[in-house]
């Protein structure tokens, strides 16, 4: 059994300017996303709960997506876009969900260029499209696999 993913790289569609910590500015082309730790549990629990609510309120859509994913290989390969679509079609409070996701990222789960912790100011510098894509990919990489693992074990 493969061990759960601890981090993954997210390639930005547009460069993000940031202070590099030495007094200068740099342009980031990617971000390093880390799996939530116990410190971030209050956020990850809310996100998992939101995702499960979305599944529950839209079981048919989920089954369809799940089957599509199965044909490729596994649940873990559900794409971020599919997940985001599923969430948006549900009755989950997406504004609150997005706020929780933002809080999780700026709590140390995201490193710009793999070295500088994402701050609120930097997060707000990302485009809406970029943050949506980021949210989908994060859920697909970290939150769904852990939910699937729990389901398999139970």
């Amino acid at each position: 059994m493969s061990s759960p993913k601890k981090e993954f790289e997210f390639i930005l569609q547009e460069d993000l300017q940031y202070a590099d910590g030495t007094g200068g500015f740099a342009k980031a082309k990617k971000m390093l996303l880390r799996a939530p730790s116990t410190k971030q549990k209050k956020y990850s629990i809310k996100l998992r709960q939101g995702f499960m609510q979305a599944v529950k309120s839209n079981v048919d859509t989920f089954s369809k997506s799940k089957n599509t994913a199965k044909t490729s290989s596994s649940h873990e390969e559900m794409k971020g876009e599919e997940i985001l679509g599923l969430m948006l079609m549900s009755d989950v409070d997406m504004v609150g969900f997005c706020d929780t996701f933002k809080d999780l990222l700026i709590d140390g789960c995201c490193l710009v260029d793999g070295k500088i912790v994402l701050t609120l100011s930097l997060y707000e510098g990302l485009s809406d499209e970029e943050t949506s894509r980021l949210m989908g990919e994060y859920i697909a990489n970290f939150l769904i696999p852990s939910l699937m693992k729990q389901q398999k074990e139970s």
Binding site: Q17, Y18, A19, G21, T22, G23, G24, F25, T119
Partner: protein, 126 residues
């Protein structure tokens, strides 16, 4: 058109809170002087001089005396010139790199007019 009075200022990727109307900056273009020389007979010519010694930017603002602000200023002070500042507003975007908090600021501990003025100096604005 509206005058800019509440810009967004970030230092090292963090948005900071300042006293409204307290922010000033200069472009860091330095001082230029014009002198005149004469060869006599009423003929003069102008000599332009660009003073490179003054080619640095200054950013100033005042913060209110709350513990978070006092703690942040202390970090910037001990960062040397490793601070990066941005000032943005509608139609305005300036980046200042290698900024050092140069003044020996005094924190006034008072309820109504307490605060402290910070003065950063560093590379000319981009």
């Amino acid at each position: 058109m509206t005058a800019i009075s509440t810009p967004t200022i970030t230092i090292n990727n963090q948005v900071i809170n300042i006293l409204p109307n307290s922010c000033t900056y200069d472009e860091g273009g330095g001082e230029q002087t014009i002198r005149t020389q004469s060869a006599g007979g009423g003929i003069v010519s102008n000599i332009f001089a660009d003073n490179a010694e003054t080619k640095f930017s200054t950013v100033k603002f005042t913060m209110i005396n709350i513990p978070d602000n006092i703690a942040q200023a202390r970090i910037w002070k001990f960062n040397g010139n490793a601070n990066a500042i941005t000032i943005t507003s509608d139609g305005l975007a300036r980046n200042f790199s290698a900024m050092a908090l140069t003044n020996n600021y005094e924190v006034k501990l008072a309820a109504t007019d307490g605060g402290f003025e910070l003065e950063f100096k560093g590379t000319s604005a981009v």
